[in-house]
């Protein structure tokens, strides 16, 4: 008999006033008892709408059935068939708009906590799993993967399982992409990312760091070196600025720089060399998940006032509801329907404040969102010494400009068809490099599809 409790079994969390002073994980995860209880809320329905909501098609009812029986390792094996990074997905996926958004239990009450259960199972396996990971029987074919973010790691993992010899080329000194430089420790502990990547290496994936494709090797040279196909998962790492006065002052960061210093370079930790500004008051411009991450990091670094400055209203915010909620609990101040017009100079080249203007919402634009319009004469100055621009990113042009025959659209995103094939033979692409900044799980879905396409391409070529 299913557990008909209307709400999800709550997950323990660090208290807001405690956690906003440390970088430890906010959500603490289920105990086995909690997982059993939550797993029993799943109705095991026959049409399984949750599975269609998952971009990598995790067999959700099957793994939850195993959890309900207390067979946690069995549950892990079900997830691992289709998902290379379950400990990551269980933490950072926007489940409300994916698997859980389609859950039958969600029609009247709260959906089953699929993400929490996936996380529990993956963490349990990391702590208790004993199975030896073995490399698959080699099939004699080589594939190169550019970038080591979620799309690339998924593509590499799937290809390795099929027996391909996979080399991943990463520009940074650590693999993981946005999972290591972007998403902070308090949402996704780096130890977990490292363990997931370690698993891929045990499967035979060769990860080479400090390799900037386009500089050390071009895509064409990779083919000359004997790779039969190339997957490009180089992401969308080029930050946008607003082009307003004062953006080059000291104390103005792109969210990418701010988060890279903190997450990748550990600027918040004693004993690491990379510096970061100690701020009193911080304005983060933007309303996405990256803006929430930057604001919550600034708070943890000791800033008294941290503002989210967003030109639309909360309803239009692209960030996950849960992240907005967490940010508010931690004391982040939301300045909605506000837009910066210039950043003020203290006379020595540092930020002395940010002049903003109030906005109101007009008619919906082409994207369906109501267009913000300035309220004339509503200018005011926000008292801040640091400004973090988090208004989006676009794909880095390095690879497309050094690869002949690789076409991109006006926004610089690589053009790929439904099978993730680009305009150049043997070259596949996926994730943010194709879509522009999107989510981890969509990137993983694209990496998965590309792996299948690459397999088919190489098999057909042989004939």
């Amino acid at each position: 008999m299913a557990n008909m409790t209307p709400n999800k079994c709550p997950m323990p969390e660090q208290a807001p006033d405690v956690r906003n002073k440390n970088f430890k994980e906010v959500a603490l995860g289920y105990t086995p008892e909690m997982a059993l209880e939550e797993a029993k809320r799943c109705l095991q329905c026959k049409h399984r709408p949750c599975v269609s909501g998952c971009p990598v098609n995790v067999q959700i009812p099957e793994f939850i059935a195993k959890v309900a029986q207390g067979d946690f390792e069995g549950a892990y094996q079900v997830i691992a068939q289709t998902n290379s990074l379950p400990a990551v997905c269980g933490r950072v996926c926007p489940q409300e708009s994916q698997c859980e958004g389609k859950c039958v239990r969600g029609i009247k009450n709260e959906p089953v906590g699929i993400g929490r259960l996936e996380r529990f199972v993956a963490d349990w396996h990391m702590a208790n799993g004993t199975d030896e990971i073995k490399a698959a029987e080699p099939n004699g074919h080589k594939v190169a993967v550019v970038g080591a973010g979620p799309s690339s790691l998924t593509c590499a993992g799937d290809l390795a399982k099929m027996g391909y010899q996979v080399t991943v080329l990463e520009a940074f000194h650590v693999a993981g992409g946005v999972l290591v430089y972007g998403i902070p420790e308090f949402r996704l502990p780096k130890k977990i990312v490292a363990k997931e990547i370690d698993k891929l290496e045990k499967m035979g994936v060769d990860i080479q760091t400090n390799m900037v494709v386009g500089k050390v090797n071009s895509v064409d040279e990779l083919f000359e070196q004997g790779y039969e196909a190339v997957f490009i998962g180089s992401g969308a790492g080029l930050p946008s600025f607003m082009n307003i006065e004062g953006e080059d002052l000291m104390g103005v960061y792109s969210a990418n720089e701010y988060l890279t210093r903190i997450n990748l370079m550990k600027a918040y930790m004693e004993g690491y060399d990379t510096p970061i500004k100690k701020s009193k008051s911080v304005a983060v411009v933007g309303g996405g998940n990256v803006a929430m991450d930057a604001a919550r990091c600034a708070k943890r670094l000791g800033a008294q006032n941290v503002y989210i400055v967003y030109r639309r209203s909360e309803e239009e915010m692209p960030a996950r509801k849960e992240e907005i909620h967490h940010a508010k609990e931690e004391g982040i101040i939301f300045k909605l329907l506000n837009n910066p017009v210039r950043i003020l100079n203290d006379g020595n080249g540092s930020v002395a404040g940010m002049e903003c203007v109030e906005m109101e919402l007009g008619e919906p634009d082409a994207s369906g969102r109501r267009r913000p319009i300035e309220k004339k004469g509503s200018n005011f100055v926000l008292d801040v010494d640091t400004v973090i621009m988090s208004i989006g990113t676009s794909p880095n042009p390095l690879i497309r400009t050094t690869t002949e025959g690789l076409e991109a659209n006006k926004k610089g995103c690589l053009i790929a068809d439904e099978n993730m094939a680009t305009t150049k033979e043997g070259v596949y692409a996926g994730g943010d490099a194709v879509t522009g900044a999107a989510t981890v799980i969509l990137a993983m879905g694209a990496g998965k599809k590309a792996a299948a396409s690459i397999d088919e391409y190489i098999k057909n070529k042989k004939k």
């Binding site: 000194h173 500089k215 080029l238 600025f241 080059d248 000291m250 890279t260």
Partner: protein, 281 residues
């Protein structure tokens, strides 16, 4: 891990290292740079590629010991490894169609001016080199520079070696005497590059400078290295580091480079005082 195959002290504060990095050596071109990270706790620091040997697979860097990271790097010896070494980064220098070029190096900037002069020399271009130092005891690479230039002019601020005065004085007198340069390349402290650019501007001589803003990734993903050139914001790590000296906002660059000054000083003293330079495991 990247092995140091050669280490040579050029003067008390400047060290040359040849590092095993075949994939970088294969592709490096004049004007490009690398980023190193000395160990697990290290920061990412950019250094211009001073030379490369495609056959031996080595890349040469020359650095001034100015802060914690360069102190730590300088403590490594031949046979030791640098943890991370990535490149070649940046856009190679575009010299264009030139016949007679004046290359100017300021202090440790000579380490970077030298390979530029060498590249031009190898292209068959006539090269004059002006190398400016504070005093005699810090003069570096004199023989090397002499070998790739038609004239090498050394200046010292105090007159203890070569001609007394600044590189700009020498440059101005050469231009006035009708040297007929069609390109000037200046590499050194920002203030020196600024005044070289000011010197050449009235004569309309094209002037290239190699900028050295603060960097993190060096691949164009953070914008920490942004500089204003001709009123537009550029990322020095991908659009540069070379820019038209007549268009660069040098004052803004000098200011931006001071943002972590206090912290840098603290770290640098810390490395000396507490650890004797070596980091605890």
């Amino acid at each position: 891990m990247y092995k140091i195959v050669k280490k040579r002290r050029l003067n008390d504060a400047v060290t040359l290292m040849e590092v095993q990095a075949p994939h970088i050596a294969k592709k490096a071109q004049a004007g490009q740079f690398i980023i190193f990270r000395v160990d697990e706790h290290g920061e990412r620091v950019p250094l211009t590629i001073a030379d490369y040997d495609r056959e031996k697979g080595t890349v040469t860097i020359i650095f001034q010991i100015v802060g914690a990271s360069t102190k730590l790097l300088n403590q490594l010896e031949e046979g030791d490894d640098i943890l991370d070494f990535v490149g070649p980064l940046g856009t190679p220098t575009h010299f264009g169609e030139v016949k007679k070029v004046c290359v100017i190096g300021g202090g440790v900037g000579c380490a970077i001016a030298y390979p530029q002069a060498k590249a031009l020399h190898n292209m068959g271009v006539e090269v004059d080199l002006i190398a400016g130092f504070r005093s005699k005891d810090i003069v570096i690479l004199e023989e090397e520079m002499k070998a790739v230039s038609k004239h090498l002019y050394i200046t010292t601020d105090d007159g203890s070696y070569g001609e007394k005065g600044f590189v700009t004085d020498k440059l101005k007198s050469l231009i006035e005497a009708g040297a007929g340069y069609d390109l000037v390349i200046a590499i050194g402290p920002v203030v020196m590059m600024k005044f070289v650019s000011k010197t050449t501007e009235p004569y309309g001589i094209k002037t290239l400078v190699s900028l050295n803003p603060i960097m993190v990734d060096g691949t164009g993903m953070c914008g920490g290295c942004r500089v204003k050139v001709g009123g537009e914001t550029k990322f020095a790590c991908v659009d540069g580091p070379d820019f038209d000296g007549h268009k660069v906002d040098f004052d803004e660059l000098m200011q931006r480079n001071t943002i972590y000054k206090q912290r840098e000083q603290h770290d640098s003293e810390h490395v000396c005082r507490l650890t004797g330079g070596k980091r605890h495991g």
